[in-house]
């Protein structure tokens, strides 16, 4: 035979949590209608950065591919020529692919990158309804051209050789007032 407490109090007590929560701030996120910023160092989609003149920082060294524990990155290097230059120095990344079906967003690749060409953005919407579109190509990963940047291929605009770029001793990029 249940006690009186068990008969009358316990069923109501169960609702106590519900009642109390009704008067608290909601934590439910209205994603995808409302997006919240991530933590600043959240590991999201990668980005291939550019120098202030628009040349690519990536030198096609494949160190990111080497570091990747999920084998998600595919890089093929090639030679810059005088007429067709994509990055300062001799070498650039001709093919650059990250397969987001494999990538575990661990960030080891960006640690390996010797030129800080590869960094991660906070972009986390990496879903799609087919496989092919989840292999991001170089043009999908390259950072947008900011004011003052020119679409490569073009000559080194900030210095005479790659040493100027890497030592940071380059001329300031054309700013808007000049343009």
């Amino acid at each position: 035979m249940p006690t009186l407490k068990e008969q009358f109090w316990d069923p109501v007590a169960g609702f106590g949590v519900t009642f109390r929560t009704m008067f608290k701030k909601v934590v439910t996120e209205q994603y995808p209608f409302e997006k919240k910023p991530t933590a600043p160092r959240f590991h999201g989609r990668h980005q291939l950065n550019r120098w202030p003149d628009g040349l690519e920082k990536c030198i096609g060294c494949e160190l990111c591919a080497w570091a990747c524990p999920a084998d998600a990155i595919y890089v093929e290097g090639a030679s810059n020529t005088e007429d067709e230059r994509y990055s300062p120095g001799e070498r650039y990344g001709r093919v650059y692919q990250i397969n987001y079906l494999r990538c575990i967003l661990c960030g080891l690749c960006i640690e390996a990158c010797p030129t800080r060409a590869l960094t991660m953005t906070n972009e986390y919407e990496l879903a799609d309804d087919n496989r092919a579109d989840l292999i991001y190509e170089k043009q999908d990963l390259l950072a947008p051209l900011l004011p003052g940047m020119e679409q490569p291929p073009h000559a080194m605009l900030l210095g005479d050789d790659e040493g100027d770029y890497y030592r940071g001793s380059f001329r300031p990029a054309k700013n808007e007032s000049e343009a």
Partner: protein, 816 residues
Amino acid sequence: MTVTSKEGQEVAKADLVTLTIDGVEVSVPKGTLVIRAAEQIGVQIPRFCDHPLLAPVGACRQCLVEVALPGPDGEPRTMMGPPGRVKPQASCTLTASEGMVVNTQISSPIADKAQQGVMEALLINHPLDCPVCDKGGECPLQNQAMSNGRGETRFVETKRTFPKPINISAQVLLDRERCVLCARCTRFSEQIAGDPFIALIERGALQQVGIYEKEPFESYFSGNTIQICPVGALTSAAYRFRARPFDLVSTPSVAEHDACGSAIRVDHRRGKVVRRLSGEDPAVNEEWITDKDRFGFTYARQDDRLTHPMVRDEETGELRTASWPEAFVVAARGLQAAGATGVLTGGRLTLEDAYAYSKFARVALGTNDVDFRARAHSAEEEAFLASTVAGTGLGVTFEDLEKVGTVVLAGLEPEDEAGTLFLRLRKAARKGLKVVSIAPFTSRGLAKMHGTLIRTAPGDEAAALEALAHDGEVALDAGGILLIGERLAAVPGALSAAAALAGTTGARLAWVPRRAGDRGAVDAGLLPSLLPGGRPVDDAAARVDLGTVWGTTVGHEPGRDAAGIVAAAIAGEIGGLVVGGVDPDDTADPAATRAAIGAASFVVSLELRATDVTQAADVVLPVAAAAEKAGTFVTWEGRQRPFGKVLVESHALPDLRVLAGIADELGTPLGFKTVEAARAELSELGGWDGDRVAAPTVSTGSTTRESSTTDGDGLRLATWKQMIDDASMLDGDDYLRATGRAAVALVSAGTLAGLGVEAGANVTVTGPGGSATLPVGVADLADGVVWLPAGSDGINVNRDLGATAGATVSVEGGAA
């Protein structure tokens, strides 16, 4: 511990010295370097300049160790430098001696510190290039900096820099700032290849590898310097920035460009071969390969590569794509309708494929009209091959060349025609081998072998060989070797004379063909009078022996040779032709070969890439390139060099599978469809121990030839193919091609004077079929002889002049 290598066991106890390395006692043969003695006990002393196949030089100082030698009282005394300080010794230049005590970085802090100091000095001016450096990931400097260097750099000053890479040759690039001045490349060029066009120049911090400005570094072996450079200072223009070592799948294989069967390593990435390196095989190529073997591989992915079978459409008369089964049916029906059929194969087949052609001709087509010789040939040659070469197994070997006193070359220019053989001959010559060459002039190769020339105009080789029997100076005897090139086939009596010379002097004889598949084709019976394994067609016992394995009878009439097949096709006696990889321009008479292909009623072509033959063929069947199939090449020594499939994802069919498909449709199955099954059948068949054909005894044709040198202003033509020339197997390898030697017509100084032009000016050489214009140069040729490269700079002697070696041509100053 005692050395357990084979060589080690052979040396008597007295020839061993015992020393102590890191507290471990080890006995090594006298003369062993300390660095290698340490390897015996599993201690790796870091090194850059040391290379087992190059003479020690002690250039990099990375291999320092602490050494103590026994004093008069027997107690070890450490080798000292300035008073009170130990002087570490370079272990790569120090020979082990009795009672020596060596302490390496493992047991001696002094050695360790010395090594770290050297590493630090090397890295002072070494750029931080690893991310853009091709060597990164397989770099001895990277690795040893990690294992034997300091973790942190103390150097804060600006590094010395040089402008970025300079071309040492079209194919080899040099980043001078990466060089650690080990002199491996310069020593290789001087000691192994004999092309010392690179050297260390300048001194101090500016010391660098340089080229003689007037003479480019033109070497057929320059790629080896890239491979042995312990840093990324030398890189390959073709491979630059293509991949990283961890991307690559490496497969051991065998080079397909000459009859030397060099071991190579093929690196591929995503179904594409990206580079080839030398493999290691002490018995064959040691660690060296030719540039052709190294860089010549893009031919298999040119735009004109055939990918689908094609048949000629009955209505439009054009070739159209077909399925394999359809192509097999059409080929079989066409061959049946064509009646008598001849089979022409080139010299590039693997042994298994050659065997398939041989069996296909005999079993499916019922003919002995089969010949692999897409070049000048003769009945005498056939008898020579049948008597002396076919199915004889391993004969003279690379190693034998180092053991004999004299090697005579006839009709063979090893540097151009068998590069690996050249390197071995040169190595032997540096140790005292006497090389004698029956050739028109002292080629660069012969000079590098310090060889002696028996100056012989083309066509007179037979007489020269006969004269050798009594030549007291050359004194060929049982301790000598006679190497015969395939070009002698065009000289009546030469091969007979060679066989006779070997018989009378006791010298050993070897036939050195130019192409990888030639020797295998002979062994597989791709000759009209020869069945597989050296069995003569006209020997009943041999036919029965073969018949028991094949389960069928074989025709007893020897067939027609390649020239005979061509003539018969033109005359309409042969209706069908099966052509496997023959380029009409390679044949002795390109016009006749083209005419035969045009005249034949039905032509089946098995090819890699579109050619004149595939355009004229009725059925075109694409076949696998060397990297896309397994197979075996037989070297000129008779050594079998099996290799596996490199590009495992390729679906290309080897020739033997294609032939098996046609044979099935003809109702006479070959009995094998895979390389493995063909190999098994070949080994079941075994060799032939019955009677052999007698060696040919054709008398020399020199008397009839004599007149040709004297008639009018005609010159006798000497010619052969240079290693790097217009060959289709080098298509696409433009950097490599750019290192080829330019086409120059060579004449004697006297003849040049008669022409009235300066060396370097253009001359026009005219043969029966046309003429060609090219610069002229001087060599020590006999008067009245002109040498031309057979296929360089767009000039194909067979095609453009309509002449072969020994023919009479006229030469005039100026362009045509």
